[in-house]
């Protein structure tokens, strides 16, 4: 049994080496500093949101914006290098114009490779602005830090009057199928969500599994995958958020029936909710997030959540 697992890990490490080296050759250097800027606007004639302007530097790429039936624009974020390498510094800037509606997803999991010796951690900075009555739905796949990986992500989200946000993040423990759990060096998430100039949510997560074990029940305990889902709409009052929380708590209870996953929900200080998930298996996370998104969108917008095509 152990022999099988070792073989799986060896194969996985081999694949990682090929992917990493291939990406390094592709770009001819060990480090990449790249940015992707996406500006979305609502076409006042058609009501459809369009990608009005973009600035793209490899390996970050968006092929095109697809029209969604509810008038939103859908883009798939590609990292054509296959993942983040040590020392990579990526920047994503998204500007959702007034009344525009945008869905962003990824083409697959974000893989964080082990850096070469002496390399700095891979980093990604996300600068997000949602204009007046705009809506951003950010629905990515999981971040998977490989063994030895180092990663730092900073996200700043600014919501203007009436702006809405559905934003989830999923962190896997590593390559679970290869038996690789919490073998990364360090992962950091820094997220600020501000509405009308006021900070309504701030998260600072720094994970160093070798220094501070994830198996402590004060952290993940028996769970391995962790997810956070921010649901916001600026201007919705506290009493309404309590009602939505109650409704979503009922939804989450259906997904919490098994002992393999924990779902929690609470109102933020204003203008939104946070859903927290800890799961034994990564595959149990996405169905719950999608259902919460579907019910919350109906409650907040009276509309059906349209799944990004690749998620269906």
């Amino acid at each position: 049994m152990n022999e099988g697992r070792d073989c799986a890990m060896e194969t996985a490490n081999g694949v990682e080496a090929i992917e990493r080296d291939g990406a390094a050759k592709l770009f001819g250097r060990n480090r990449v500093a790249a940015s992707l800027q996406l500006d979305f606007e609502r076409d006042t004639l058609t009501g459809q949101t369009v990608l009005a302007a973009s600035h793209q530097e490899p390996p970050l790429k968006v092929v095109r914006a697809f029209a969604v039936e509810d008038g939103a624009a859908l883009v798939h974020l590609h990292n054509v290098s296959g993942g983040l390498l040590g020392g990579d510094r990526l920047e994503l800037a998204v500007n959702v114009g007034a009344c525009a509606r945008v869905q962003i997803t990824t083409t697959g999991a974000t893989r964080i490779y082990r850096p070469r010796a002496g390399a700095r951690p891979a980093s990604q900075a996300n600068e997000i602005i949602v204009g007046e009555n705009g809506l951003l739905e950010y629905l990515p796949d999981a971040v998977i830090p490989f063994a030895g990986a180092r990663f730092s992500q900073r996200t700043s989200i600014r919501l203007h009057s009436g702006a809405g946000l559905f934003w989830w993040e999923i962190l896997a423990p590593g390559r679970e199928a290869a038996g690789e759990l919490f073998q990364y060096e360090d992962v950091e998430f820094r997220t600020d969500v501000a509405a009308g100039g006021r900070l309504i949510a701030a998260e600072r997560v720094r994970l160093e599994p070798k220094a501070r074990g994830m198996a402590s029940v004060a952290r993940l305990g028996v769970y391995r995958t962790w997810a956070t889902f921010y649901i916001c709409r600026v201007g919705v009052g506290p009493a309404d958020w309590l009602e939505i929380e109650k409704e979503l708590r009922g939804v989450l209870a259906l997904f919490s029936a098994q002992e393999d996953v924990l779902w929690g929900i609470s109102t933020l200080t204003a203008h939104g909710l946070m859903v927290r998930c800890a799961a034994k298996r990564g595959r149990d996370v996405l169905p719950g997030l999608q259902e919460v998104w579907r019910v919350a969108k109906r409650s907040l917008y009276g509309q059906t959540a349209v799944m990004p095509r690749k998620v269906n």
Binding site: R219, L262, W263, A278
Partner: protein, 221 residues
């Protein structure tokens, strides 16, 4: 130590900050308690210690922008607490703590902080209030942080005595055993800014978020 005593009438014994949910779900049992407390100190303890220091420095270095800094500090900590009950519990303890300190003498800074928070309808978090009060009273910063962390750990152990089959002697041993973690957390917090203060406790977050849904509750949070 007087201000960190669990007997101080600020309501400290009425909160479990999500631990009650974890016990109800059998995620924390007596054998895991020491490890849980160590992790709690390394994460939530660290975050609160950094904010305690920031409050302390506000209290001991009066500046012209005190009111703004005080409000922003508390607003930031509110934003970092994911559960409504956790924010409310910390806010209740902080407000009661500062009101208690206010009653001990004529402290313009403490009274100003209470007034500013009331007018702005902002929370007063326990760690920030404890730091501010300690700074105003001229205590030593590291000692104030140690006292605050010890107080928090002792409150959780006390909560466990009511939630779990945990006797006095075992509780004392557990609290004694985490003192190195208290000291280490105090040390780590000394060089960390409030913007860098981190906390990762998703299971306890779940406990605090789901506490309102518990059918039977001993604690407010």
């Amino acid at each position: 130590m007087h201000l960190a005593d669990s007997a101080l009438p600020i309501g400290g014994l009425a909160h479990s900050f999500g631990l009650e949910s974890l016990v109800a779900a059998e995620l924390v049992t007596v054998p895991e308690l020491s490890e849980f407390l160590r992790g709690f100190l390394e994460e939530a303890g660290f975050l609160e210690a950094v904010f305690c220091r920031a409050g302390f420095r506000l209290g001991s270095n009066g500046t012209a922008s005190f009111t703004q800094n005080w409000l922003v500090l508390n607003q930031r900590l509110s934003a970092m607490k994911p559960s409504r009950e956790g924010r409310a519990g910390s806010g209740s303890l902080g407000k009661n703590f500062l009101a208690t300190v206010s009653g001990l003498g004529d402290f313009a800074t403490v009274n100003g902080a209470l007034r500013a928070s009331r007018e702005a309808q902002e929370s007063i978090h326990h760690s920030v209030a404890f730091g501010l009060g300690s700074g105003v009273l001229g205590l030593e910063e590291d000692r104030a942080v140690l006292a605050f962390l010890h107080s928090g750990a002792a409150s959780l152990v006390s909560a466990c005595q009511r939630l779990l089959p945990l006797g006095q002697n075992a509780a004392t041993r557990i609290l004694w055993g985490v003192k190195p973690a208290i000291v280490e957390t105090m040390r780590r917090s000394a060089t960390c800014s409030v913007d860098d203060a981190s906390c990762f406790m998703p299971v306890l977050d779940w406990g605090a978020m789901e506490h309102p849904a518990l059918p039977t509750r001993l604690f407010i949070s």
